[in-house]
Amino acid sequence: MKILLVDDEVELISALAERLSFRGIDADWADNGEDAIELARNNEYEVAVLDVKMPGMSGLELQERLEKIRPGMRYVFLSGHGSHQDFREGSAKASSYLMKPVNIDELIERVKQA
């Protein structure tokens, strides 16, 4: 399974990608929306895991852009905020919504269910 991880915290997203690779999930990562779009143009991903709040392009804006490039790709949102607004927006537009810090087993389960 190949997935795309996007979060502006490099130390988080790179460690997460490495841990997923130990569990048989091939994860590319980007720390901003533009790089994520470039990766999606050149690779096919089944699922994208997106941080809701990022500098520049938000996770929700990125999802809209990615949907045009890769229709059918599924989404899981991550957020550190936990605000009701984030939850409403994230849960309405994604297959799943997880709060940071994430439990990796739960993330894998959500990615597979997405």
Binding site: E11, A15, H81, G82, K100, I104
Partner: protein, 205 residues
């Protein structure tokens, strides 16, 4: 509409600052969580003899860095919380500028800009520390919004007259009109030599 000096606006400011700080802390915890998990994964590899020590050092180094980052966020948040302890006190403008800049780091990051502080000149004024910090944060936020991705925001302090200056890149315009009543309430005024360059000037030490 609530004015800048209403209790509602003060509460909103407190909420904005604490929300940004707790968001950053969540990220710190998430990074510590992932790198602690990575260490566990790497230990499992080590048991099978498939590991070089540098990978362990890298992950533990990241955890140490995040502990330091989290400590900085907590110290600023605690310092900010204590700014409400007294209605009026001696406020070191250099310290207030440093704290306000630190508190505004997240909003700067979200606007894809950065804040540089040069607060070497130490000077004090008698005022509400909370309101001085709110005022300087207000100036910084206005400069950050004006700046966007076109450069960085600089914050400096001056001793004579006691003042804090906030500068956005040339060609931008920092809108500070709504902050004027707040400046007045702490015995200061907002002066602007150029549209991108604003200062809060206190009437005396």
């Amino acid at each position: 509409m609530d004015t800048v000096n209403s209790e509602r606006e003060r509460l909103r400011f407190f909420g904005r600052i604490t929300a940004a700080a707790t968001h950053d802390l969540k990220n710190v915890l998430a990074i510590v969580n992932e790198n602690a998990g990575l260490l566990e994964d790497l230990c499992a590899l080590a048991e099978r003899g498939q590991l070089t020590p540098d990978r362990l050092t890298h992950a533990s180094g990241r955890i140490r860095e995040q502990v330091k980052r989290g400590d900085g966020i907590m110290r600023r948040l605690n310092d900010f919380a204590h700014s409400t302890d007294h209605d009026a006190s001696q406020v070191d403008l250099g310290e207030a500028a440093l704290l306000a800049s630190g508190l505004c780091n997240r909003v700067a990051k979200l606007h894809e800009t950065s804040i540089k502080v040069e607060a070497e000149t130490s000077t004090s004024v008698t005022a509400s520390r909370f309101e001085v910090i709110r005022l300087v944060c207000g100036l910084i936020e206005a400069a950050v919004k004006a700046t966007g991705t076109s450069g960085g925001v600089s914050v400096t302090t001056q001793a004579e007259p006691p003042s804090v200056t906030v500068a956005a890149p040339e060609g931008t315009s920092v809108e500070t009109g709504p902050l004027a009543p707040l400046a007045e309430s702490v015995g200061a005024e907002i002066v602007s030599s150029d549209p991108h360059h604003v200062a809060v000037r206190f009437s005396g030490a």
